[in-house]
């Protein structure tokens, strides 16, 4: 039970941590100052979820590792986040496509997890569900405006939706662990509603829902794209160069 729960908390925590790092890269690089602040808020929401979940994982492990130890001193193959979280940002259309896909998934997941019999997971989910509802709204507003905007914005929005689509099936991949662990949510149960919600936004934006394509997988087993290593180098190098440093 405990090793399963530990692995599950790490999955969700790693999703949130890696997503937070990518979101934070937009700060001072977004199209307008207001968007810098908006994405800063969203990244901090994700980081807050990561902190709670990694702290919980550290407690479950019982080896004295803190949230920081888990974030800064694990290697690439130890991270079990979804690959969609680690992909480079691309342009703003890509960023909003990712946020729409990922936040809609997180919203459905946390909404179910609120009723988990594990009090910590339920508590984290109860707080996070309101945060990610806003992330979904933010992404939706932009997908609608870019999709239904100029030819240039429509083309870029469609390109973003297409580029991220092959990384969406991984979100709903069920496995032994989630089926065994009764406090977890089997993500396969979220897929239908996710498709309904995302398709509704894409249709309204005048973009086209991407066709079924090859779908990547492996993140939950620690197999990642080449991009995660670079992300971790940036995320971890200060903590590893100066272990135990504080300010």
């Amino acid at each position: 039970m405990t090793p399963d729960l530990l692995a599950y908390a790490l999955r969700l925590g790693d999703d949130a941590l890696i997503a937070a790092q990518r979101t934070a890269e937009w700060i001072a690089a977004a199209p307008q100052l207001e968007e810098d602040v908006a994405l800063g808020n969203i990244g901090l929401d994700q980081l807050g979820q990561a902190r709670s979940l990694l702290t919980y994982a550290g407690e479950l492990e019982g080896a004295g590792r803190t949230e920081d130890d888990l974030a800064y001193f694990r290697d690439e193959r130890d991270f079990t986040n979804l690959q969609i979280c680690e992909l480079p940002n691309g342009d703003f259309g890509h960023a909003m496509a990712r946020l729409l896909y990922f936040a809609t998934y997180q919203h459905l997941l946390y909404d179910e997890l609120r009723t988990s019999s594990d009090e910590i997971l339920a508590g984290v989910a109860g707080k996070a569900v309101k945060e990610v509802a806003y992330h979904v709204d933010h992404a939706t507003q932009w997908v609608l405006r870019l999709g239904d905007g100029t030819d240039e914005s429509h083309g870029r929005m469609q390109a973003g939706l297409d580029a991220l689509w092959p990384y969406t099936a991984e979100m709903f991949a069920s496995d032994e662990l989630v089926r065994r662990l009764d406090v977890a949510v089997d993500p396969a149960s979220l897929e239908e509603e996710w498709h309904r919600r995302v398709t509704e936004v894409i249709d309204a934006s005048t973009c086209t829902r991407p066709a079924s394509t090859y779908q990547h997988s492996g993140g939950r087993e620690g197999r990642h794209t080449e991009h995660l290593g670079h992300l971790l180098a940036e995320l971890q190098h200060v903590a590893r160069s100066h272990p135990g440093a504080s300010w």
């Binding site: 100052l33 602040v37 908006a38 405006r145």
Partner: protein, 92 residues
């Protein structure tokens, strides 16, 4: 592209008026509301937000300051200073 400027008004809690807090850029009113939420209420400053397109505000001119405001200066009988404010009335 320069997006329109919006003036932002935030009500900090029930019972108080919306107060002007600043301005920001947004493509339309819906996005202006969301930007205002992110820029001006991220530290629990508000329970309600109004956004108004800056060009929709008609403002008095600094040049008219004398005839607009000075005549009120010497009419103390208009000031509500001849009452006792009842106890417990905080926001009169």
């Amino acid at each position: 592209m320069i997006e329109p400027l919006w003036e932002i008004f935030v009500r900090s809690r029930r019972g108080l008026s919306h107060v002007h807090v600043g301005s920001l850029h947004a493509p339309d009113a819906t996005m202006a509301l969301r930007n205002a939420r992110d820029v001006y209420t991220r530290r629990q400053e508000g329970v309600s937000i109004w956004v108004v397109r800056a060009t929709d505000i008609t403002a008095s001119s600094p040049d008219e300051k004398d005839e607009f405001f000075d005549p009120a200066g010497d009419k103390v009988y208009r000031h509500p200073t001849f009452y006792q404010v009842p106890e417990g009335v905080d926001h009169l």
